[in-house]
Point group: C2
C-alpha cells in the first residue's frame, strides 16, 4: 500500500511545552485482516492502523494503557504529551505499556483520504467514507486483540481523544478499568458552527478541487485559514489579551499605515494576526486538508447516545471508573458543559467524577499546560 500524503515528509505535532520528547519502544503498522464495517453503511477494506508503543507489556498483559489523540495528533504520544510520562505523573514507562493509535482518516500513517483505495487503485480523496469515533474504537480493538491485550488498565484522551476514550468504555465495557476524558462533550451548536466555518475555508480554496487535489498542490490557504479559525476556539480571550493585546505585529508592522499589502483596505497586522498567520503556516507543513475534513466529520457526528434508547442504556453499560476533566477557560467545550455531561453519565448509572483544570489556555490547556493536567490527575 502506497500512502502519498501519509508520511510524505510531514512531521508530527511537537510538544507545546519545553519538555523532552519521549521516544517510543516501537512504532509500526497493523493491517486489519478484512473489511472494517462502518456505522455509515460503507466499509474500509483492510485499513492500516499506524501505532506507537511505550514501555513493555508484562507477562499478565494487564498493564496496557491506550492514549487517544486529538484532531491533529499522531500515534507519537511521547512527542505531543511528554509530561504525562514524567516520573510520578500519569503514565509510567516502567510499569505501563502505553499504546497510541493514529486515527483512521488522519495523515500520520493510518488509512485516510490520502491513502490508496484498494478497490480503485486511486487515492481515496473525497471518496473516503465517514469513519466515526466508534468505527475507530472498533478498529483499535482489533489491533489490541492482535497484541493479545484483553483489558486496558486505563484509556485517556483530550478533545476527540476523549470521545474515543469514552466510547471505549461503552462499546467494550469489559475491557477498560478506568478512563480519563479531558475537555469534551458532544459538540455544541457553537462547536458545530466552528467546524462548519473550517470546512468551508478548505472547500472554498480552488486548490481543494472537490477533494481531488494532488499531494504537491494542496489547498494551503484554505487549510491555513481553517487552522486559524480552530486556534481562536482552542485559546481563550484573556490569554490572547495577555499575550497580544492590541500590539502591532512584533515583526514590525503598522496597523495604522495608510497602505498595507493590498492598498488601503488592509494595513499592517496586529500581533494577534501575525500569530494566527504563523500558526496557519506551520500547520500546512504538517497536515493534510482532506484528513482535516475527515476528522472534523468524526467529531461532528459523535454522539455516544446515538442508537441507544436512553442514557441508561448507553452509559449504564459502562463498568470503568470515569473521570471527566473540564478546563476553566475552554469555550469550545465549556467546563460547565463537561461537568453537566459527567453528571448525566453518572445519573445514567456509571461511576464518574468531575475535576476542573484552572487555566487561561482554553481548550488547548491539556496540551499547553500538561504539568497542570498531571497535577490534577495525581
Amino acid at each position: 500500500m502506497t500512502d502519498t500524503f501519509n508520511r510524505s515528509g510531514a512531521s508530527p505535532p511537537e510538544p507545546k511545552t519545553g519538555a523532552k520528547i519521549v521516544e517510543p519502544t516501537y512504532e509500526g503498522d497493523f493491517v486489519l485482516d478484512g473489511p472494517l464495517r462502518l456505522e455509515c453503511g460503507r466499509s474500509l477494506d483492510c485499513p492500516t492502523l499506524h501505532y506507537a508503543v511505550y514501555g513493555r507489556l508484562n507477562a499478565a498483559r494487564d498493564n496496557a494503557v491506550l492514549v487517544c489523540h486529538a484532531l491533529s495528533g499522531s500515534a507519537l504520544v511521547g512527542s505531543w504529551w511528554p509530561e504525562v510520562f514524567a516520573p510520578g505523573a500519569v503514565l509510567s514507562l516502567k510499569h505501563d505499556f502505553v499504546i497510541c493509535i493514529n486515527m483512521l482518516g488522519s495523515c500520520y500513517g493510518s488509512t485516510g483520504p490520502g491513502s490508496v483505495n484498494p478497490e480503485t487503485g486511486q487515492l481515496y480523496g473525497p471518496d473516503f467514507p465517514l469513519v466515526g469515533v466508534r468505527d475507530n474504537v472498533r478498529a483499535q480493538a482489533r489491533l489490541l486483540d492482535s497484541l493479545g491485550i484483553r483489558k486496558l488498565r486505563l484509556t485517556l484522551g483530550g478533545s476527540i481523544g476523549g470521545m474515543q476514550a469514552l466510547d471505549w468504555t461503552i462499546l467494550h465495557p469489559d475491557r477498560v478499568e478506568r478512563a480519563l476524558i479531558v475537555g469534551v462533550t458532544p459538540l455544541s451548536a457553537m462547536g458545530l458552527a466552528l467546524n462548519h466555518l473550517q470546512r468551508q475555508a478548505i472547500q472554498h480554496d480552488p486548490e481543494w478541487d472537490g477533494g481531488r487535489y494532488l499531494p504537491q498542490r494542496p489547498p494551503r490557504r484554505g487549510l491555513a485559514l481553517a487552522r486559524q479559525i480552530a486556534m481562536i476556539s482552542y485559546k481563550s480571550a484573556p490569554l490572547f489579551d495577555e499575550r497580544f493585546g492590541r500590539h502591532p505585529n512584533r515583526s514590525g508592522e503598522d496597523p495604522w499605515a495608510a497602505d498595507g499589502a493590498h492598498g488601503g483596505l488592509t494595513g499592517g497586522r496586529f500581533d494577534i494576526a501575525g500569530y494566527l498567520d504563523y500558526q496557519g503556516q506551520r500547520f500546512i507543513e504538517r497536515f493534510d486538508a482532506n484528513a482535516y475534513l475527515a476528522i472534523l466529520r468524526a467529531m461532528d457526528t459523535w454522539d455516544p447516545l446515538r442508537g441507544y434508547e436512553s442514557p441508561q442504556q448507553a452509559f449504564g453499560r459502562i463498568k470503568a471508573a470515569l473521570s471527566f476533566i473540564g478546563i476553566s477557560s475552554d469555550w469550545l467545550f465549556p467546563a460547565d458543559e463537561v461537568r453537566r455531561f459527567a453528571e448525566s453519565v453518572r445519573a445514567a448509572g456509571a461511576q464518574a467524577d468531575y475535576r476542573e483544570m484552572k487555566s487561561e489556555h482554553g481548550h488547548d490547556a491539556f496540551l499547553a499546560e500538561q504539568a497542570e493536567l498531571v497535577r490534577l490527575l495525581q
Copy 2:
C-alpha cells in the same frame, strides 16, 4: 459621481424584529466642499455622505440626535432600529430631529471602495484609504455644520456605531449633551483575531482579485464566509444551543449519511450550518466585500486614546453625560470589559454610567432585542 456598488440594487438591512419600518422625512447626499484629510495621512477628495433624517429640526436647532450605525448598517435607522422610535422609547418623531449618516467606506451611498475615485476616474477598489472612526466623525460634523446644527441633544450607537458616538464626545466636546454607547470597547485581541479571519475569507476568494473585482463578479463565497464568521461572534453559544442544538438541518439533511455533496468528507448539514449558510447568502445580496474590508479596518484601528498622552487628556475633554451599555451574553465585546471601559472613562474625569442588558442574543442583542434595550434606556 457614479457609484457602481453603492445603490446597485443592494437593499439595506431589514429590522431583525417584527416591528414596522419608520420612514425617513428626507434621504439624500451631502458632498464635502473640498478634501477630507484623514488621520492616515491621505485624503478623500470631496467625499459624499449619504444620510437620512427623521422628524423636524426645531427653530432653536437644539433637538438633533445623531444615530451612528454598525458595520453593515445604513443611514436608514428607521429600517434597522425601528423600536427605538416607538412611542415613549428613546427617540421621538414628534420632538427629535434624528439624523443617521452612512459611514465612509460603506456601500449604502457614502463614498467607499465601490465609488469612483475623482483623481483617477476609476473605482477606488483597493486604493480606498484607511478612513478611521475619527475621520468619519469629522466628516459627519461638516454635514451637521451644513444643516446649521451646532449641538446634538444625543448621539448613540452600538458596536462601531458606539465607537463613533464616543469619539463625537471627545473630538467635539461642546457639541454633544449626552451619548449612549452600546456593546463596545476598543477591540480586544480576540476581536482583532475574528476580524483577521474575516478579512482572509474575503481575500482568499479568487474572485476578490486583489480588490479589483468587477461589480458583476464579486467575491461571493469569501464574503459569505466572512459573514458566517462574524455571525458566530454576534450570537451566543446558549442561543445557538437553544435554537439549533445538534439537530440536522431543518430542510432535511442527514449529518450521518455516508456521502454528502462532496463524497464522504462532507455529510448532510446540521441545523446551525444551514442557518449560517443562509445568513451568508442573504448578506452577499446586500453588501460589498471591499466595503466590508474598509469598515473592518476602521473598527480594528479604533483607539480613543491614540494620539493623547493619557486617558485624562482624552476622556477628560468630554462634557457629555455618557452611558455605556454592556450585553450580558456578548462575547465579542464582553459586558465586563464594557463595564471596565466605562469605569476607565469615568476615572479619567468624564461623567459616565454603566448599564447591562440581559439577553441571550450576544452582541447582536442591540438589534435583535430592541425592546429590551429601550426598556433599559428609559
